[in-house]
């Protein structure tokens, strides 16, 4: 399995596709709510829906092209650079991958939050577009008319490029054969779950699936963190010994006895069949060092602390000590603007922005060819 399937790639693609599907579904439900009611003009509604689909699918297509090119060039050109200090590079890549996965993993468990975030963002975008695009410039007019093409196009493309970059970051050490399968399966899984969420299916089983996949993702990430530290320690040892360490296989002399927590002469991920699966999923090493074991446990403790903080935030409204810290920072010259932005927008403000966006949509700002008509509609909507 490990040579044709990279679990980390699967999870990233799955997550990004899920997010893209959610964006599209949010847009579509906006449209349905504002223009798709049975008593409204179905022709305009259908046209805008088509725009959304075109936009998102083109975005996806463009990303696939960019992604393929990126990975191809990367593997064609970049591979030889790090063959000499392999363990050092492997260690660094694993660290990068761990950070990426850790940061984006938890969002998967709060699909509602994701939906809400995208509602806000899209509403903002709609408001901005209505304000800033004049009918006067040709591009502006075209842009306004096809805003519901451009918006999903840009957002899906951004998500897709994000996915490409993350996949690149996570998979810097992997052979090229491990890409196609997880990308395709991740794509399909993301589409499936996104569709189920849109349809409002069985919330519990979807959530259980998401919990399971997040747990596996974090198991992989913890293993990767441990592997990163192990690779860096092994690199240091190999530098001191010279180039012969690899020839020792998994026997005596292939590891640093002063750093060893356990060493078994079997079950090496590098040489024994089956154990490389354990290595890929859990970071198993037949020769563990203090660094690799401690880092594994530190990672888990870190995750537990982070999750607890997030739960606290949900219960009490903000992260522990966040309000106090931001209040202090707001007094620091230079950080004032940043701190103010971070201080929570209240729920009313959020609802207000969403309403504005919906109004712009309903008011036909984005589908009239006649600029003057849209002006009138805007006045009406106010």
């Amino acid at each position: 399995m490990p040579n044709v399937f990279a679990p980390s790639v699967f999870f990233i693609v799955f997550r990004e596709v899920l997010e893209a599907v959610i964006i599209v579904s949010v847009l579509l439900s906006f449209l349905k709510q504002c223009l798709g009611q049975p008593d409204q003009d179905q022709k305009i509604y259908k046209r805008l829906v088509r725009q959304v689909w075109f936009g998102s699918l083109s975005g996806v297509f463009v990303c696939l092209v960019i992604g393929g090119a990126f990975i191809g060039v990367f593997y064609g050109v970049g591979k030889d650079i790090w063959s000499k200090s392999e363990d050092l590079w492997e260690g660094i890549f694993y660290l990068i991958a761990t950070v990426i996965i850790t940061v984006m993993g938890l969002a998967l468990l709060r699909v509602n939050k994701m939906k809400e975030k995208w509602r806000l963002k899209i509403a903002h975008a709609l408001v901005d577009k209505a304000k800033h695009h004049n009918a006067k410039s040709w591009l502006g007019a075209w842009g306004k008319r096809n805003a519901l093409f451009i918006l999903p196009f840009i957002t899906t493309m951004r998500e897709g490029v994000e996915a490409v970059v993350f996949v690149g970051g996570v998979s810097l050490g992997l052979p090229a054969t491990e890409f196609p399968l997880p990308v395709i399966t991740g794509l399909l899984a993301g589409l499936l779950i996104g569709y189920l969420i849109y349809r409002g299916g069985n919330v519990l089983s979807i959530q259980l699936f998401l919990i399971a996949s997040t747990s596996v993702l974090y198991l992989i990430a913890a293993g990767m963190f441990s592997k990163a530290i192990w690779s860096l320690q092994f690199h240091t040892f190999a530098q001191k010994v010279g180039s012969d360490v690899a020839e020792q296989g998994s026997g005596p002399g292939s590891y640093d006895i002063t750093q060893s927590v356990w060493h078994v002469n079997c079950c090496s991920p590098q040489t024994d069949h089956g154990w490389d699966v354990f290595y890929a999923l859990l970071g198993w090493q037949n020769s563990a060092t203090y660094g690799s074991v401690i880092s594994y446990n530190v990672y888990w403790i870190g995750i537990m602390v982070a999750v607890s903080c997030l739960l606290y935030e949900e219960r009490t409204g903000s992260l522990p000590l966040k309000t106090q810290t931001l209040a202090t920072l707001a007094k620091v010259p230079g950080l004032k603007g940043w701190a103010k932005k971070k201080q929570a927008i209240s729920a009313e403000e959020r609802a207000g922005i969403v309403r504005q966006g919906q109004a712009h949509l309903a008011g036909g700002v984005f589908h009239d060819s006649d600029g003057s008509l849209s002006e009138d509609n805007r006045q009406l909507a106010k």
Binding site: L109, Q207, G242, I257, W262, V264, V293, I303, L311
Partner: protein
């Protein structure tokens, strides 16, 4: 740095004009062991261990039958020393053999020690330090025993002594800790920096047309075997390690560390040109060949001083067809020893111990020197001296009965060539397998009919990589004799066994002089008791010297706890994540 041999003192050359008197003399040497700065390869000045403030140390030259007295004083100041006279049987004088904590205590700085023995064997030998890997620092030189009754007397006009050696720029005190180190887990031996002929380079040997010369050659190196050849001259081997042989014609010979060879070289009849001769280090055992290493050293047979000195031709190591010393026939044609009374099988294994460093083992034992020198244990253990246990678990001792025929089978489980040396004897080299033949008689059945009727004899014999050798000798020389690989790095990492030959006989006949015991007082070495110094319970070895313990195999408590804790934290975290996930519903 070129030296002409004719500049050496006349002591080194023996001309037949001076007939030697047949009566045995006593030859006395006063050796004050000192540090001397030297630069033999012209590339690096380094401290070396010399004698009487001179380096190279003097060549010892005696006649068969002489009594030799060597008064050693250690003026090194910072190192202990001993002297071993390699190849001399020390019949009745095993306490003069020299290995540290085997037949004597070390000679500590400031201590005086007297070696007194009779030499009753002709041939080419050498003497060197036998303490803690010291001799590659320079304390080694040839020892020639002349024979007025030599069967080859009159077949040569002049004699030369020619030593070859590898040479290191660093001192052993620096190299050994880097060698036995967890950062050297494969046990890669340090690579020499140069090769030397007569402790110099660019040697010129004056040759007169038409004459025949007897060369005494010694490989005094620490590690490297040497291929030696004289361009456009063949040589005729007449003696190896003190054993005369039927003359054997050779184009190129191979000497492992510690081996010697005497051969006749007949000069050409004209003086038209000078001819180079080359000694090339065997680089197959070198871990890595560093940039710029010249593993050859050449000299010249100088026919005519006015003629140019040509460069030696480069020959690829693959095409070396060196003479196989196994095929030599001893001059006295001593017949093969019949069925041995005792057969000892030793397997050469290189492995790592608990400190992560690489050690050498015979079977499963890596040598560690005893607290009480083994010979002193023999002398003070009474009847228990016949029980190998009294010599400790790590001296790898075998008790041999007087006049027994002993067979040693060495199975080399290492991809390196090893030269094995037995003190106190020249053994019959009964069998040597090809490389990769595995253990003796395990795959190819070798029987007595495959053994030569009159096997070649010497005291240092090489075993091929992953091959085997069979050696036989008669235990007619009571004493404590080491059997070890003569690659000094492997001596340091424990490839040694001890032959305790006729211990009860030794108790009756041997008398050790007081200055030997006095030398032990200086560094507090006990002289009575078993290998641990226990005089009361001779079989109780608590406190004996031991090599580091074995590497932990599999899961220790520490490992199991770590793994368990890691699994626990993973499960707990997944529970927390699930809780977070379910909180959304």
């Amino acid at each position: 740095m070129a030296i002409s041999l004719s500049c050496l003192p006349l002591v080194a050359m023996l001309l037949p004009i001076f007939t030697h008197l047949a009566e045995a003399a006593t030859v006395t040497y006063d050796f004050n062991i000192t540090w001397v700065l030297a630069n033999p390869d012209g590339a690096f000045v380094r401290p070396t261990i010399g004698i009487n403030n001179q380096w190279p140390p003097p060549i010892m030259r005696v006649t068969k039958g002489d009594t030799v007295i060597v008064n050693v004083e250690n003026s090194l100041g910072n190192q202990t020393t001993t002297l071993h006279f390699h190849g001399l049987y020390m019949n009745g004088s095993t306490h003069m053999d020299g290995p540290y904590h085997v037949t004597q205590c070390g000679i500590a700085p400031g201590v005086k020690f007297k070696y007194n023995f009779t030499v009753d064997q002709p041939g080419t030998y050498w003497y060197h330090s036998h303490a803690k890997g010291q001799y590659p620092d320079g304390l080694r030189a040839p020892l020639i025993v002349d024979d007025p009754d030599s069967p080859f007397k009159g077949m040569y006009d002049e004699e030369y002594v020619l030593s070859v050696s590898d040479w290191y720029h660093d001192q052993m005190a620096t190299l050994i800790p880097h060698f036995i180190n967890r950062r050297n887990p494969k046990g890669a031996e340090p690579v020499p920096n140069a090769a030397l002929l007569n402790d110099t380079q660019g040697l010129q040997v004056p040759i007169q047309a038409g004459k025949t010369y007897l060369f005494h050659m010694v490989n005094m190196g620490a590690f490297a075997g040497q291929y030696i050849w004289f361009e456009e001259h063949n040589i005729s081997i007449i003696e190896v390690d003190g054993i005369y042989t039927e003359p054997a014609n050779a184009e190129r010979i191979y000497l492992t560390a510690a081996q010697r060879c005497s051969f006749l070289l007949t000069a050409k009849n004209d003086t038209n040109s000078n001819f180079p001769f080359v000694s090339s280090m065997d680089t197959t055992l070198f871990d890595k060949i560093p940039e710029g290493l010249n593993w050859n050293v050449s000299g010249w047979l100088l026919y005519d001083q006015s003629k140019p000195l040509p460069d030696a031709a480069i020959i690829l190591e693959d095409s070396f067809q060196e003479f196989d010393d196994y095929t030599l026939v001893p001059y006295d044609k001593e017949p093969l020893f019949p069925d041995p009374d005792q057969s000892i099988t030793l397997e050469v294994v290189m492995s790592n111990l608990g400190d992560g460093a690489n050690y050498a083992f015979f079977n499963n034992i890596s040598y560690a020197p005893p607290i009480v020198p083994t010979l002193y244990t023999v002398m003070t253990a009474g009847a228990t001296a016949a029980n190998t246990q009294v010599y400790g678990d790590y001296t790898h001792s075998f008790v041999l009965g007087k006049d027994e025929v002993i067979e040693i089978v060495v199975n080399n489980n290492d991809p390196g060539k090893h030269p094995f040396h037995l003190h106190g004897h020249a053994f019959q080299a009964v069998w040597r397998s090809d490389r990769d033949a595995g253990n003796f008689n395990e795959t190819a059945l070798v029987s007595v009919s495959d053994f030569p009727a009159a096997p070649m004899r010497r005291d240092t014999f090489a075993v091929h990589p992953n091959g085997n050798i069979v050696l036989r000798f008669k235990a007619d020389n009571p004493g404590v004799w080491l059997f070890h690989c003569h690659i000094e790095w492997h001596v340091d990492s424990g490839l040694i066994a001890t032959m305790v030959e006729a211990p009860l006989e030794l108790q009756r006949t041997l008398s050790i002089p007081q200055d030997h015991y006095d030398s032990c007082v200086v560094d507090g070495t006990p002289v009575k008791g078993n290998a641990a110094g226990n005089i009361i319970n001779l079989l109780d070895l608590t406190g004996q010297n031991a090599p580091p313990g074995p590497l932990p195999e599999g899961f220790t408590t520490r490992g199991a706890v770590a793994l368990g804790f890691s699994i626990l934290s993973a499960f707990t975290s997944i529970a927390v994540i699930s809780w977070y996930g379910l909180a959304d519903i």
